[in-house]
């Protein structure tokens, strides 16, 4: 028996995995461009969230149809990977169906893979119909034109092709088993691919082996290509949903962080003994004062950036957004897509400039996200609640508002009036603080 296929397999496999590892390193590097945040608290709750939300898909089912179909594809993806493990071992060792000595267990496994593969096929076709025939509103928004639309469809095509190859591989294998072909011992049960047998009627064993081997090779190569396609697609959620739900916010949704840099300033203002002309502490003379809020991806936290890579553009956030529902420009999904696009651009800039970011005259605020979008937000947390993988678009919106107000004094005029009132008379309207209790006697 020739060892050539094994060598080719090893080369293909290691190129696929190596290239993917390279992508993972790049993603990690880009995420680490974000500001540090402490996520070391309450590990048990974090594990629980990951188990419940990512592994258990708990938030997917709030929309029953999409949720159910997604669980099929998800379970299919996870379970069929056991078969991929066998394929990989077969590939390296030159064996055929190396797990088959497991007998009945093997038959049950292969049988269930087939049933799942068929269910996945049906689910994926329904997904395609939802996107392209029924044209669900949340897949038709302006940010979904062009690449994001093609990207969504390409992933569906990938899955259809992979499932068809898997079933073809099994169908021809079964025919070869029935024919008693050499090397194709009886193994597995084929509840779905047995229906393909009439297609192979009258084909010679040699032809069948070519079809079986071609399907086998294309299936494993397809999986490796898919793995590497993830880096360029919105589909990274299949991996990043796990860390993302782990590092997701544990506080009440209404609790926004208090900026520490501001607290220090406020404390100094309130301290009667503070010396406003004091020299900077030794060693910190050249320290750049902290920037308030965020205008670019490097100002955001690394969790924000992980969020951006995790977003799979399902659009549930945008669908629930009151501003978006009433025709405003704000779309929480676009906030996440813009953040990722800018982050990728910054990453490429760093790659092109030997590891250093060179100012490109662009930033997330203005070049990607407009003030109009930011000011349309009611901070209602509907987007945060809607996200099935714990992404928080509101956090990014608030950091950018902070930049607009505290660094640029660029709030809408009416808000400036409101803030002036609070400063002067302790209420957002121009009523005197001394009149606060007048209601009692009115």
């Amino acid at each position: 028996m020739s060892i050539l296929p094994q060598v080719i397999f090893a080369i293909v496999f290691f190129i696929g995995i190596g290239y993917f590892a390279n992508s993972v390193i790049k993603i990690a590097r880009n995420i680490k461009l974000g500001q540090d945040v402490d996520t070391s608290d309450n590990k048990p709750q974090r594990w629980k969230n990951m188990a419940r939300i990512a592994l258990g898909q708990s938030k997917m089912v709030t929309r029953p149809i999409a949720g159910f179909l997604h669980i099929i594809v998800y379970v299919g993806f996870v379970v069929i990977n056991i078969e991929v493990l066998e394929i990989i071992i077969d590939g390296f060792t030159g064996q055929h169906r190396i797990f088959s000595p497991a007998g009945d267990i093997y038959n049950i496994l292969i049988g269930s893979f087939e049933l799942l593969a068929f269910a996945v096929l049906v689910a994926v076709i329904i997904f395609w119909i939802r996107r392209n025939v029924i044209k669900l509103k949340r897949f038709m928004s302006s940010e979904m034109k062009g690449w994001p639309k093609s990207d969504g469809n390409i992933i569906l095509y990938f899955e259809v092709v992979l499932m068809c190859l898997f079933l073809t591989m099994n169908g021809t294998d079964l025919q070869l088993q029935l024919n008693g072909a050499e090397g194709y011992h009886t193994a597995g049960s084929f509840p779905i691919s047995q229906w393909l047998l009439p297609l192979f009627d009258g084909l010679s064993n040699a032809t069948l082996i070519i079809i079986e081997r071609t399907a086998w090779w294309l299936h494993i190569i397809g999986i490796l290509v898919f793995l590497n396609y993830l880096y360029f697609s919105k589909h990274l959620h299949i991996l990043l949903a796990f860390p993302n739900t782990f590092y997701g916010n544990l506080k009440p949704k209404g609790q926004f962080d208090n900026l520490e840099a501001v607290t220090n300033e406020v404390k100094m203002m309130m301290d009667p003994d503070a010396d406003p002309f004091a020299a900077a502490p030794e060693g910190e003379e050249d320290a750049v004062p902290a920037k308030f809020g965020a205008s670019d991806v490097q100002d955001l936290s690394w969790v924000n950036l992980l969020n951006a890579y995790t977003c799979t553009e399902c659009g549930r956030c945008t669908d629930e957004c009151p501003a978006n529902q009433t025709g405003k420009k704000l779309s929480p999904r676009k906030i996440m897509m813009d953040t990722r696009d800018r982050l990728v651009e910054v990453g490429k800039n760093i790659d092109a400039n030997k590891g250093e970011f060179v100012d490109d005259g662009k930033q997330l605020l203005g070049d990607y996200i407009t003030n109009e979008e930011l000011w349309a937000c009611t901070s209602c947390n509907a987007c945060v609640e809607a996200c099935p993988v714990s992404i928080d678009p509101l956090n990014i919106i608030m950091q950018m508002r902070q930049y607009l107000v505290m660094e640029q004094s660029a709030a809408p005029m009416e808000l400036n009036n409101m803030m002036t009132n609070i400063e002067n008379n302790g209420a957002p309207w121009p009523y005197n603080q001394m009149d606060r209790l007048n209601w009692k006697d009115e």
């Binding site: 009433t326 209602c380 947390n381 609640e385 902070q402």
Partner: protein, 263 residues
Amino acid sequence: MSELLKVPTMAEFMAAGKKPEVLFWVGCAGSFDDRAKKITKAFVKILNKANVEFAVLGTEESCTGDPAKRSGNEFLFQMQAVTNIEVMNAYEIKKIVTACPHCFNTIKNEYPGLGGNYEVMHHTQFLKSLLTEGRLTIEGGQYKGKRITFHDPCYLGRANDVYEAPRDLIRKLDAELVEMKSCKSRGLCCGAGGAQMFKDAEPGNKEVNIERTEQALDVKPEIIAAGCPFCNTMMTDGVKNKEKEGDIQVMDIAELIANAQDL
């Protein structure tokens, strides 16, 4: 009727060497907005009826800073927060009740990090606890059998996971509680949060409060119950916009309870 209201201040309690059971944080809307002042009074009437020893800060109260923070003005927020915390800590406040979910959220969640640690309750939670402790009885009165839908305030519901206290109180009125298409964790915003109350909306094809009012009208309520002075304003405007103010009332839960007992 107003002369019947007992509204002691913290300063008065302090002068008498006493401490109230709870501080009633009135909030800016509750102090100054004509519609919200009615909610404040209704709540005070219930507190008086239940003999709750409460106090207000009165002229020593100032904006919590919520609209400043949500606008992005963290400086102003923290200045307000630190000032309020100094006042409340000086009075050794332990427990706070407020009828405004924005004040509730800010004091409960954002003040602790700045040195203000209190037990904070929304007025619906507080009324529920009075009920449980047997200090308050709720009768249906004029609301018996009325069709009432509850609009979840974002800063009470999603922001702090309080969904049942207001609903339990409505049920106690022997009213028919009906839920809108979007409710509880999926409740639609009234459009006022995030400092939107104080500015015009960005260009779009509809106002958020109209969208929400339409959802409410879909379930054909006689009363839209609210638990937030800002939601109340937005829903009242929405109902007026639909020219339904003759058929549908927008009422705070405290008002429903007070009116039901002719307080």
